[in-house]
């Protein structure tokens, strides 16, 4: 198959924008291209023109492509240290908020929603929590809502949970059914699953904690900026934002609205600008005195 260039990608993006109303212009180029190539390989398509014609004319086909592009693979308690920081540093600061408002932004197939629910249960806070889990991809939301995962993936999940120092056994939370497991419905009693596009949609809420891990890596800087702005508008002073271990918001203008809570684990605390100015003045004054 011939090399796929920037022009070819633009053409695919344009067609998808018209036929599916989804704008991929602000996605990171190489991972977007990688997804397209993967789709072409899986479907044994060799001709790019044939491909663009198919996504232009065949709605189900194009829908499936969008699904393939936006699906994100995750695991439960990925980076156990992150979850330890949520449990030990973040929760004590927000645990008295009632209800405790949490947003899983781009939750994909929901592994982190269940991780959080287990963590909250162990902290005695699940009953008092209100959790919103969103993704733009309906089919992964469906998986998240069902809570059915492959048995094979539980090995990694168990290891992570153990490292996190969970109170029980992860297997207490699911029943095995052949090659799959189903997680306890009790965990998602307070979870509302909702279709939401971070690139376009608007959220009007007030969260104590937003998790959006390993999602920003698929966006370019402009879209990252927009998303971080949106998050900040849905948070109050003292609420928290957790992103992926190798993501950073230092490049965003909106980062001035945040302080690092736990730099290694990439947890940020929403502040107001005035507070930050005071903080800097304080630093400067202390510095002068020394």
């Amino acid at each position: 198959m011939e090399e796929i260039g920037i022009k070819d990608m633009k053409k695919v993006i344009d067609v998808l924008s018209i036929s599916q109303g989804v704008n991929f212009n602000d996605y990171a180029f190489s991972s977007f291209k990688r997804r397209i190539i993967r789709f072409l390989d899986l479907n044994k398509i060799r001709d790019l023109n044939e491909f663009t014609e198919l996504i232009r004319t065949d709605n189900a086909y194009a829908e499936n492509l969008v699904k393939e592009i936006t699906v994100n693979v995750t695991e439960m308690f990925r980076d156990p240290n992150f979850w330890i920081a949520i449990r030990d540093n973040v929760l004590p600061k927000i645990r008295n908020n009632s209800p405790l408002n949490i947003w899983h932004a781009a939750c994909s197939s929901g592994e982190e929603v269940y991780s959080m629910a287990i963590l909250l249960h162990e902290a005695g806070l699940l009953e008092n929590s209100r959790i919103v889990a969103t993704d733009l991809n309906k089919s992964v939301l469906n998986i998240a809502e069902k809570g059915i995962y492959s048995l094979k993936s539980q090995g990694t999940n168990q290891r992570n949970y153990l490292e996190f120092g969970g109170k029980g056994n992860l297997s207490d939370w699911y029943v095995v059914n052949g090659n799959t497991v189903q997680y306890d419905r009790k965990l998602i009693n307070n979870v509302e699953f909702r279709c939401h596009n971070l690139a376009g949609g608007e959220m009007k809420d007030n969260f104590d904690l937003i998790l959006c891990r390993n999602v920003l890596i698929y966006f370019n800087s402009e879209l990252q900026e927009k998303v971080i702005q949106d998050f900040s508008r849905n948070m109050s002073q003292g609420s928290f934002l957790g992103i992926g271990s190798k993501e950073s918001i230092v490049w965003c203008r909106a980062s001035k609205l945040f302080e690092e809570e736990s730099p290694i684990d990439k947890i940020y605390r929403r502040i107001n600008e005035k507070e930050k100015l005071n903080y800097f003045n304080l630093q400067e004054n202390t510095h002068c005195k020394l």
Partner: protein, 193 residues
């Protein structure tokens, strides 16, 4: 003939660790090009690896963040459990897409994207390894004009990975670990522009 080379991309798996250490300990702190390391490593051990490479390297070895700009004076090691792609803007893009050929990071992916970005300004090297990852990637970089080297299978602790490259195409050079060190040393007057 190598003055066009502006970046070195190295892929390795089982048996490559000592070769990588040898390479890193041989380059001087003023080495003028960025080096990208895509190495298979244990998924659940996040710490220790980069530290151990920094013990022998005079150039800082870092696990980049997403969107980091590639710069001379740094060696970029793939963060554990992520794919590492190189964007046409010469920045790093990370991805948690599922394993490719049972691998995350996929050496194929790093080489393909680096080759697409750097074309004939890239040198790509595949070292020892016990699986077939990397062969497609370095072949793709080769087709984009990259200068390609592979560790001599008879010199590699595990020869599957270099052998797989040779099944795909004939790289410019097949070298022992010592000669790979020599090749990288020969780039010390190049410029990253």
């Amino acid at each position: 003939m190598f003055e066009d080379i502006r970046i070195v991309v190295i892929g390795g798996s089982a048996g490559s660790y000592n070769v990588v250490r040898k390479i890193l300990s041989s380059i001087s702190e003023t080495f003028p090009l960025p080096i990208i390391l895509c190495l298979h490593r244990l998924k659940d051990t996040r710490n220790g690896f980069v530290e151990s490479l920094n013990l022998v390297s005079k150039v800082p070895v870092i696990e980049p963040h997403d969107k980091d700009l590639l710069k001379a004076g740094f060696i970029y090691l793939n963060p554990s459990n992520y794919h590492m792609l190189i964007e046409p803007t010469r920045t790093v893009a990370l991805s948690t897409e599922s394993d490719i050929n049972y691998c995350r990071p996929s050496i194929d992916l790093t080489f393909e994207t680096a080759g697409y970005t750097f074309k004939n300004n890239m040198a790509g090297i595949i070292l020892s390894g016990a699986n077939s990852d990397g062969a497609k990637g370095i072949f793709s970089a080769f087709k984009n004009g990259a200068y390609t080297l592979v560790q001599d299978p008879s010199n590699a602790q595990f020869n599957t990975m270099p052998e797989e490259v040779l099944k795909h195409f004939k790289p410019h050079k097949i070298l022992s670990d010592e000669d790979i060190v020599g090749f990288i040393d020969s780039l010390k007057y190049n410029k990253y522009v």
